[in-house]
Symmetry: C3
Subunit: 252 residues, 3 copies
C-alpha cells in the first residue's frame, strides 16, 4: 500500500498516481490533497493524526514549498512504515510517532535530473515511493539510489506552557468544521466545567450537542487535545483564531 | 467492498480508511466526504441518489452531529447491502430504497468505550464496518457486538403538496453546479413548456443547453425530480434558494 | 484500470463509480472531479497534463455542458489508451498526445435511451467505459454498441504568437495554488533573467523559493510552459489573470 498526502488540491495528484501505477500494482490510498497550502507545520500535525491508523505502508508526502532549491529528498524508515518526501521537517514528528521509540533510518534520495524543477512530487518522490514499495530498502541501499544520512531537518510541534490553571498554547490546525485544535492536552481540563479563552468563558463538554446549536464550547478532540468549537458552527470565526495563533486558556 | 460517506472534508476520512485497512483487505470506494456539514436530511437525500447504483456492499455513513450523546450506532441490512452509521435517521430513506420492499434488519452496535467522544467514525463505525464486511451478520449477531433492535430513528424525505397546477415543495439539496433539486416529481411538468417559480417564469427544458448561457430554467434532473437551474450558471443564486427552503411552482 | 475525470464536484461521481463497479472489477482511479465547471478547454489542458502519466487504461471523461443535446458520445482509441466521453473536443488534444503520432480510432456510442437527459456520465459514459474495459473494442465494433466514425469535434489548445522578445499568449489554466499557466513555451525564457508581464517586471526563476514569500515571479512549470506565480501566494490575484485571458510577455 502507498498512501498519498499533499497540498496540491486537484488535479496534480493524478500525475503522481499515474507515475506510481506505471511502476507498481501497489494499492493507492489518498490521505489528503487539501492540506493547507505550503504549511509544513500543519501538514506535520495532520500526518500524526492520520498515518498511525494505517497498516504498514509507504507514505508519500509532498508539502514542499522549497521544491527546486537545495533541500534534500528523504526516505525514512520508522517502525514498519516508510515515509517519502522533502527534507523540510514535515516527515519528522510522524516518524517518531510511527517509530514508537525504535530506531529511525533516514536516506537521501539521489534526485538525478528531474524533468521539472517545480513538481518533484511527480518526478522524484512518486517514482521513489514506487521503487521503495516494490524493493526492500536494503536492496536500494546497495545502489546509488539511496544514501543513509544522519543529517536532516528536525521539527517539533509547538508545546504549550502550563502554569497552574493557565495554559499558553497555540492553534495547531483548524479542521474543515472550523474546529480550532490547540496543543493544550485534554488532561488540562479534566474535571473543569469551563475555560476562559482569552476573555470568553465557554463550557467544557464531552459532546458538541451538549450545548445548543451556535453555542461556543471547548472539548477534548479525537487527537486528545483541547479544541475550541461551536456546535454546528465554526469555532475559528467565533474565537477569531487561525492556525499558528497563540491562545491563552484558563480553567474556570 | 466498503463505501465511505461523510461530511468530514479532509483529512479525517483518512483515519477511517487506515482503521479499516488495518482490519480488512476490502476494497474502499469514497462516495463523498463533502456532504453539507451536519445536515442529516441532505445526507439522506444524497445517499438515495448514489448508493443504489453500487453492487452489494457495506456502506459506512458518518454524518453525526449528535456524536458523543446517547444516540445509538446502527448496522442495517437492507437487500444485499449493509449500512453502518449513527441512529439519527440518515440511514433510513436509503435503507428502504436498497431494501426494495423486502425486510430491513437493524442492529445496535455495542460501542464499548471509544477512544474519543467526538470521532466515532474512526473509533466505532469504521471498525464495525470492517468487522461486518469480513464476517456474516449472523456470526456477529451471536456475539455481544450487535443486538437486533426494533427501535430506531425514522426519517422521511419531505413530500410536496400538489394541487392541480400548483406544487408547494421544498429544496432537497443544492448540488455543486448550484442546481436546486426540489422534491417535486418530474411528472408534474410533463407536457408543460414553462413553470412559474415564486414569481419568475422559466422554460421547462430537456437539456441545459436548450437555452442560452446565463438563462434560468427548470428541468427534470437525473434523480427524476424537478430542478431549478441556470445554464452554465448557478440556480441557487438566481432563484435565491438554499437547501430546506420552501418553493411554490406553478405550471404555466 | 479505469480513470475518472469530471467537473462534477461531489457526490455525483459516486453514482458513476457504483455503475462501473456493478459491471466490472476494474481498478478505479480518480483523476479529478474538480475541473472548472463546464470549461471544455481547461479540461482538455488538464487531461494532457495527467493522462499521459498513466499506464494503458480506459479514461472516462465527463465535462459535458451539452448533455442532452444532439452532441455525440465517443470512444477513442489512442495508442494503448481508450478514452470515453462527449464529442465536444475535450478528448481531442489528449488523444493526439496519447496516440503519439499513431492512428487514432473513433467510435460513436449508441446512447440508447438513457434514464436521464442530464447525467449521461452515469447513464451512458460509465456503462460504456465498463464495457470497453472488459471487452475488446473489436468485439464491440462488431455489435451495435459502437460505430466507427470519421466525424468528430476537434480542438486545438490555443498557440501563442511569438515575435522576437514578445510573446502574445493566453492563460490555459489556473491551478489550485493560483499559478497562471500560460501557453508560452518555457524555451521563450531560456537565458532570460526577467520578463515584463503586461507592465509588471518579474524575475524568471527556477524555484519559487528563489524569491521572498509574496514576491511575484515567472517560472517554467511542470508542464514545460511559462507560469506566472507568487511565492507562497496567488499569481492569479497578483497578475489579475484568469483562465482564457490574453497576456503579453516580453523578455527583459
Amino acid at each position: 500500500m502507498i498512501t498519498l498526502t499533499s497540498d496540491f488540491g486537484s488535479p496534480y495528484p493524478a500525475a503522481m498516481k499515474g507515475v506510481i501505477a506505471s511502476r507498481t500494482d501497489a494499492r493507492l490510498v489518498d490521505v489528503s490533497h487539501e492540506l493547507p497550502r505550503q504549511d509544513v507545520g500543519s501538514a506535520a500535525f495532520w500526518l500524526c493524526e492520520t498515518l498511525p491508523y494505517f497498516p504498514p505502508a509507504v507514505h508519500l508526502v509532498v508539502v514542499d514549498p522549497g521544491v527546486g532549491t537545495e533541500r534534500a529528498a528523504l526516505v525514512v524508515r520508522a517502525g514498519d512504515h516508510v515515509l517519502v518526501g522533502p527534507d523540510n521537517g514535515v516527515l519528522d514528528p510522524v516518524s517518531r510517532r510511527l517509530g514508537d521509540d525504535g530506531p529511525i533510518e533516514r536516506y537521501r534520495i539521489d534526485e538525478g535530473n528531474p524533468e521539472s524543477s517545480t513538481f518533484h512530487g511527480r518526478d522524484v518522490f512518486a517514482p521513489a515511493a514506487a521503487t521503495v514499495h516494490d524493493r526492500s530498502l536494503e536492496a536500494l541501499g546497495g545502489t546509488d539510489a539511496l544514501t543513509a544520512t544522519a543529517e536532516y531537518v528536525s521539527m517539533e510541534l509547538p508545546e504549550p506552557t502550563i502554569d497552574g490553571a493557565v495554559a499558553d498554547g497555540s492553534v495547531l490546525a483548524v479542521d474543515d468544521f472550523g474546529n480550532c485544535i490547540t496543543n493544550v492536552p485534554g488532561s488540562f481540563v479534566a474535571d473543569a466545567d469551563a475555560v476562559v479563552v482569552d476573555t470568553r468563558r465557554v463550557p467544557v463538554v464531552e459532546a458538541f450537542d451538549a450545548v445548543d446549536p451556535g453555542v461556543a464550547l471547548a472539548a477534548v478532540g479525537s487527537h486528545g487535545n483541547l479544541e475550541l468549537d461551536v456546535n454546528r458552527g465554526r469555532g475559528d470565526e467565533t474565537f477569531g483564531l487561525e492556525t499558528g495563533d497563540s491562545v491563552r486558556i484558563r480553567r474556570s
